[in-house]
Amino acid sequence: MKPRHKRLAIAGGIVCAVGIAVALVLNAFQSNLVFFYSPTQVAEHEAPAGRSFRLGGLVESGTVKRDGVHVSFIVTDTSKSVPVRYEGILPDLFKEGKGVVAQGQLQDGVFVAREVLAKHDENYMPPEAAEALKRAQQGKLANTMAKEGAR
């Protein structure tokens, strides 16, 4: 094979490999993007049915109910709230009145969480949860929350 052909073949091989990689990536990407919605958006039916998404806000005080491995609680952004069901062990830093992000699907108005995401320390508010609160309260309340969190 002539050098020029060889180089063409290599370049072609690279283009093919890259093309396949890109196709794979974009395909996987599309089916695995997880969008984030606040309780207000869920209440306004903006969240997709039958597709996994993330829900963030505060765990409403006094709503956490445990029955063996089954837990239920309510996530609120202080204007609207969504009931959440979960099966398993909650992260250490899950507490009433604190921020939370859960990933799962809506089933008959109840958010069935497959995963409840852990925050890593007391001072930390998941950005998604903070965002939801901010949107709901135009900043005012979120500020006091953030301060409370910082204390």
Binding site: I10, G13, V34, V69, I89, E128
Partner: protein, 659 residues
């Protein structure tokens, strides 16, 4: 007083770094030997000053000097001493100081061990490293000074995040940083070569051991982080595709590509400009990783409280370093040339394919990591890219790479014959398929994915076996002994084999964990039992125990198998009064063929608890494989042809001393 000394030492270090960044570089351009001679002592002095500052910060932590803001924010009198030392890098400022210490340390090591390099080359290399330390010193001094004082010192500190109070904290960050920052050496060698215009096979030979050593640290650092997450976070996963993990994984992928491409450049003189580009990219990605982790754009275990000024500074520095080096590359690379030619079935081609696949994988990870940040920054909504994305993309990209691991080392340089390769490897291929089917049949689990995974692991082993046999088989009239032939194999070659075998072990572990693990969250009352994969776990209740700076609720679970006692596991739930936080401490019985993993969930009514009971077959093979890769790298980096150089120069200096 001590913190002020540390602060002062950092300013002095900045002065030295500025001198290092400019004088030797100008000296190399003008051929002034006296200017170039500054480089080595300056690198040493810079390291000494930064090490002194680091020592001052350690002293402030050990001596509980809460008038220093950073100490007050990250330590506490009740914290055990070794964690007070580790708390030095428990926050943003200290970890940047650690980063700087590593950077100046690597520069010092280059100055110390590269005496045999021509003076202008060494001067340029150290100057480039000087530029990097100027950037990081400015960052530290202007935006994140660890020695800032508090006007009204508190009586006690806020304590180190309990999650970080773990032996992993003592080793994981320094290891990872050694790797991250070690890539700056390859970067500096590349930039210096571009400036000087002398990029030849000797350049590749000088760069190789440094790159390999940095890669070893990166490999160990990532493996340790993964192991730490496994036993500390309490939910038994070992890799989460968390953006911060990705930030360390991307430089690893590129560094792996770089190691392979450097091999081609050294042996055959090909791929020159590509190798230089990889060296630049590898370090750029470690800078990007620093930016992602330290700027607080990510929500993750590793993100610290943030100040937008810091993110902006690192971003500006990132743009400067990447932009300048790529511009230099665009300007000078055409002069470098492409190097020797090769046929399209040859080891070069296989290594090129390796590089393309690794870079494609890196690109896919980069997309998954940056895209959500980009959307968020543009105000187009919040999304996240979950682990399924990375799994679906990564596996198909890695499969051909694994196949090439078997073929590449058997192919000749420059020109190889496909029929001959096929003749040598067909038995390996058959053996791999039979072995994987047999293994899956024996453990009674016939999945397509797990069979493929096992086949890949066995394929690497079988192909390595063929390679080794060919090297050991006497093929001349002179029949030398087997041992003698084994000794003839160069150490670097043995290193490559060990590292590749490490990949096989890793894949074997991953496949068996993914397909065979059982995770169960169960409600357990005192005396309750649950059975997982033949192991019977009996819950014996929870009692309260005091710790050095926490109170623990310690559970007891007895494990039996077929009536015989296996072990007793004591998972804990720890409560840290200073931060008011709770930590889960899993109990793990690690074994050759399985881990028994138990952690406490939450207390229920009465004495019952929710307990996580996991059995993870062959999970330790994952980290074992990583350690083998690192050990293979160690063998390759200490090959005789690199040591000979050092010994020769050392001999010369010794002779001088005697004279």
């Amino acid at each position: 007083m001590i913190p002020e000394l540390g602060h002062f030492a950092l300013w002095l270090a900045l002065g030295v770094a500025v001198a290092l960044a400019s004088v030797p570089m100008l000296g190399a351009a003008r051929g002034r030997a006296d200017w170039m001679a500054i480089a080595r002592p300056a690198a040493g002095l810079q390291f000494a000053l930064v090490a002194f500052a680091f020592g001052c910060l350690i002293a402030a932590f050990v001596g509980n000097d809460f008038s220093v803001f950073y100490v007050a924010a990250n330590s506490n009198t009740s914290l055990p001493t070794h964690y007070r030392v580790a708390a030095v890098w428990g926050g943003h400022e200290g970890s940047m100081l650690l980063w700087l210490l590593m950077l100046t340390g690597w520069a010092f090591a280059v100055a110390r061990f590269s005496r045999h390099l021509p003076a202008p080359v060494l001067a340029r290399i150290l100057s480039v490293m000087g530029v990097l330390s100027v950037g990081f010193l400015l960052f530290l001094l202007l935006t994140s000074n660890p020695f800032d004082r508090l006007p009204n010192p508190p009586l006690d500190g806020r304590d180190l995040n309990p999650l970080l109070q773990d032996p992993g904290m003592v080793f994981h960050p320094p290891m990872l940083y050694m790797g991250y920052v070690g890539l700056s050496v390859a970067f500096s060698f590349a930039v210096a070569a571009l400036i000087g215009g002398n990029l030849d096979t000797t350049w590749a030979r000088w760069t190789r051991p440094w790159t390999t050593v940095a890669w070893i640290f990166l490999t160990i650092g990532i493996a340790m982080g993964s192991g730490w997450a496994y036993y500390e976070l309490g939910w038994g996963g070992w890799w989460f595709w968390d953006p911060v993990e990705n930030a360390s994984f991307m430089p690893w992928l590129v560094a792996t590509a770089l190691i392979h491409s450097l091999a081609v450049t050294e042996k055959r003189g090909s791929f020159k400009s590509w190798t230089v580009l990889l060296a630049i990219l590898a370090f750029s990605l470690s800078l990007l990783g620093t930016f992602l982790v330290r700027s607080g754009v990510l929500s993750s275990v590793h993100a610290f409280a943030t100040d937008p000024k810091r993110g902006l500074f690192i971003l500006a520095f990132l743009v400067f370093v990447i932009g300048a080096s790529l511009a230099l590359y665009a300007w000078r690379a055409p002069k470098v040339g492409l190097g020797a030619r090769f046929e399209w079935v040859s080891r070069e081609t296989f290594l090129l394919a390796n590089n393309v696949l690794l870079m494609a994988a890196c690109g896919a990870v980069l997309l998954g990591t940056l895209y959500p940040l980009l959307l968020d920054a543009l105000g187009m909504g919040k999304i996240s890219v979950g682990p399924p994305y990375f799994d679906t993309v990564f596996v198909p990209l890695m499969a051909p790479l694994i196949f090439l691991i078997g073929v590449g080392p058997l192919a000749r340089w420059k020109h190889a014959e496909l029929p001959q390769l096929w003749r040598r490897l067909r038995w390996a291929l058959g053996a791999a398929i039979v072995a994987s089917l047999l293994t899956n049949w024996l453990r009674g689990h016939l999945g397509i994915v797990s069979t493929l995974g096992l086949a890949m692991a066995f394929w690497i082993v079988a192909a390595l076996g063929v390679d080794l046999l060919d090297r050991l088989r006497p093929n001349g009239i002179v029949r030398t002994g087997l041992l003698h032939r084994a000794r003839q194999i160069p150490r670097a070659m043995v290193g490559m084999m060990v590292a590749h075998l490490g990949i096989a072990v890793f894949i074997f572990g991953v496949t068996l964990v993914k397909s065979g693990e059982v995770e169960r969250d169960v409600k357990m009352d005192v005396g309750d039992t649950t059975e997982v994969l033949g192991y019977t776990f009996t819950f014996r209740g929870v009692e309260s125990l005091p710790g050095p700076n926490y109170r623990a609720a310690q559970g007891t679970l007895e494990v039996t198998r077929e009536g015989k006692p296996v072990t007793t596991l004591r998972p804990e739930k720890r409560n840290f009064p200073v931060t008011g936080s709770t930590m889960t401490e899993a109990a793990i019985d690690a074994g050759f063929s399985r881990d028994l993993y138990v952690s406490l969930g939450e207390p229920l009514a009465g004495k019952a608890w929710i307990v996580r009971v996991y059995v993870k077959p062959f999970i330790d093979w994952i980290w074992g494989g990583c350690l083998m890769m690192a050990f293979g790298g160690f063998l390759a980096a200490t090959d005789r042809r690199y040591r000979a150089k050092v010994r020769a120069t050392q001999g010369a200096t010794d002779a001088k001393v005697i004279a």
